[in-house]
Symmetry: C2
Subunit: 441 residues, 2 copies
């Protein structure tokens, strides 16, 4: 069996490794337009900030590593066509065009940046920040600069803004929405995150209309105001990459992403799709949504590897569980926001409480802010947390609670661990659940 | 309604507070033999080690705080009798005996220390370490001393041993079993915990036969050897306190603890029991077990408060989820150990893997060792972890996995959060589950 994979991101590479781990015979061939593979874009801020020394350090493997495992990777190669009737793809490298047949085709093409809606007179010192190559260019370009303006970026941009501020740059962040990460965080939480952190000048509801050049400076015009900067980082708005899927005849959904079933099959036989280019089902609403996260890509890849080898697993609906380190604080979220619930007309009850991570009397006490959102029957549908302590595993517990449709009353019975130097005897999650229950009575 | 509570530990006080929070009228009266209330015994090691300044700091509230909430606490008072037919208790303070009727009686009497089996010629400089009063005495007594020997203690003693070693004491720990915390940790994990940590001399399988006095020194005789010390801390073996429950006619189970049903009712009408003095049901085996933990006591108290106020909840079977900080390392566990599975003849598959907490390339990388135990159908029944990073929320996720009877194959589909500075893209729990799955194939 020959499996052809388009894309060498978290989805494509994890799929290849997981197939090979369980099967020696399958022929695995990957195509990618990129030169760099096997790195986590989420680590880019850490290199820009200097916490990790070089971009080379975040590259886990090169193409030879995969070749040793009998996985062929065609770097810097563009797949130009898919013919699903003859089960053949065409691809181009260095202006040479070739074709190849497949038994199973996996589209893991990721997403692509969309151009900003405002005008830019000259792209000099204006960059996007989505991949390692962007990171390298920015790292080089800001060496002799001082003022950096970010416009409406997601996690990687927000984290980078604070990392660069910590390094001594003057950083301004112009957010076009009511708050940062509006899909993840309600206004009260995103505002608190910005207030608690120092070093970056934040402006929300910033309607950027143009960027013009004045000598060596860039002038960003918004809300009848103008600020200048040496370097501008453009918004990181992305859409799923679907041109090849369309060409192959795959159904595309309302979000502009490839439609797949629970086995990760597209509407075309022997073509599968995973990663940022597909739509998934929301666990909360049961309707299609996007989940452009490395963890979703990896999970889909592991499920698909099983399916291609005949051990049929399903990919379950998502709750989009996220954690991120922004300046000196971490935020984490899972499920839906209250704003989203309002938008879709779902009646919810929410609480937002300030509590601790450890025993109240513990001297290195970490503050914790937790917002919990429940349907009117008490089912937990969302949670957002903010803290100067680690939130990663804490939000994982919430991810399980939301996936299991637990009600806040049931949380009283759930077993959490306790020791004063690490935890509270009544877990903050239970404290929030009790507060919701009281509010509902 | 008058609720009389015997015991002012985590169980009794949490019950009282939770009743009062939801009901103003119920008369709540607590009896305790102790002078100190509302502190966490788990914090004693932190005071002995100096991380928390004084024992007063770990006392959250005094009796007046409760009186303000209209909760009466009789300190230093011994309940001497229970007559369940006339629903009356008798109690004694300062040699005065009185009686009081109850509508509902809650026995939250805790547990009591049992005397060691070896001989001791003189109790001078020999102490137990289970409550704040022990802590105060030890803190005072070791001021001008150097050598301390602990014999077979549980978490509080083990944590204290390392805290005192950090403070400069010469500390030896003689463990009578094959490893520390044999009910929580398998030998390979407890051994690793001891090997990784520095500062305490450990000996396992130490069969202590006697402690004798030689001038100002104590000599501890075990396995044909003798070591001397200035101070000895005795084993912390405890049994449930059941004398009043027995007197009231309550059924006592095979573990010597009060038998309760899922509503926390004893076999005698209008008498309930919670906390260390009761037996609970194990989620894994379905059979009775003990769960002498503050978290269990608090959970039982919250459930019972609901039940006494007519909002009937059940107390679910336990998995005994634990976290503890020992020296520079933390361990955490949930479910059963492999040794216990062997003992009860349950066929299991286990793996023990060394991995990371954060991305592999992250410079402040925390190592993580995780042992996972599954039944032969893949259901996760136990987990033990060891790390220099926080394990509290990480074991909570495991607690949910075990309580929900998840199989290791299902864990592939579970959503965990990820960012390189806090987590791995494939969560260690999933890594362990994949390793078990491979071993089972």
């Amino acid at each position: 069996m020959r499996v052809v994979i388009i894309g060498a991101g978290a989805a494509g590479l994890t799929l290849a490794s997981n197939i090979r781990e369980n099967d020696e015979k399958t022929e695995i061939i990957i195509f990618t337009q990129s030169e760099d593979i096997a790195y986590s874009p989420c680590a880019i801020p850490l290199v820009l900030g200097g916490c990790i020394e070089s971009f080379d350090d975040i590259i886990m493997h090169d193409a030879d590593y995969y070749l040793d495992k009998n996985i062929q990777i065609h770097l810097s190669t563009t797949v130009t066509g898919v013919d699903s009737s003859s089960k053949k793809i065409t691809f181009e490298k260095d202006s040479n065009s070739e074709s190849m047949t497949y038994d199973k085709l996996v589209i893991a093409a990721g997403s692509e940046l969309i151009a900003p809606e405002f005008e830019i007179d000259d792209m000099d010192n204006i960059f996007s920040l989505t991949n390692i190559s962007d990171g390298r260019i920015i790292q080089e370009s800001i060496k002799d600069k001082k003022e950096i303006v970010f416009i409406s970026n997601l996690s990687i941009g927000i984290e980078s803004a604070y990392e660069l501020a910590r390094k001594g740059y003057d950083v301004t962040f112009l957010e076009q929405s009511f708050g940062i990460l509006p899909l993840f965080l309600d206004g009260e939480i995103s505002q608190k995150l910005v207030e608690l952190n120092e070093g970056v000048d934040f402006e929300t509801n910033a309607d950027v209309t143009s960027i013009t050049t004045n000598g060596s400076k860039k002038e960003i015009h918004y809300n009848d105001k103008t600020i200048s900067a040496d370097v501008v980082i453009l918004p990181s708005n992305k859409v799923p990459s679907t041109s090849l899927a369309k060409q192959a005849g795959c159904e595309i959904g309302d979000f502009g992403a490839v439609v797949i079933n629970e086995y990760l099959e597209t509407s075309v036989e022997d073509i599968y799709a995973i990663g940022d280019c597909v739509e998934v089902k929301s666990h909360i609403t049961g309707t299609p949504t996007l989940s452009p996260a490395g963890t979703t890509a990896v999970r889909q890849a592991m499920v698909l590897a099983n399916n291609l080898l005949g051990n049929k697993l399903t990919f379950d609906p998502v709750v989009n569980t996220v954690v991120s380190k922004v300046g000196d604080y971490n935020y984490a979220c899972s499920g839906i926001t209250e704003s989203f619930a309002e938008m879709i007309g779902m009646p919810v009850v929410s609480v937002c409480i300030e509590t601790c991570q450890k025993a109240r009397y513990y001297p290195q006490n970490n503050k914790l802010c937790i917002k919990m959102i429940c349907k009117d029957d008490g089912t937990v549908v969302g949670c957002q947390m903010l803290s100067d302590g680690d939130l990663s595993s804490r939000i994982d517990a919430l991810s399980f609670i939301i996936t299991d449709n637990m009600k806040c009353e049931e949380l009283i019975q759930k077993e959490f661990s306790y020791t004063p130097s690490l935890a509270m005897v009544v877990n903050p999650i239970v404290q929030a659940a009790l507060a919701i229950r009281k509010k509902m009575q």
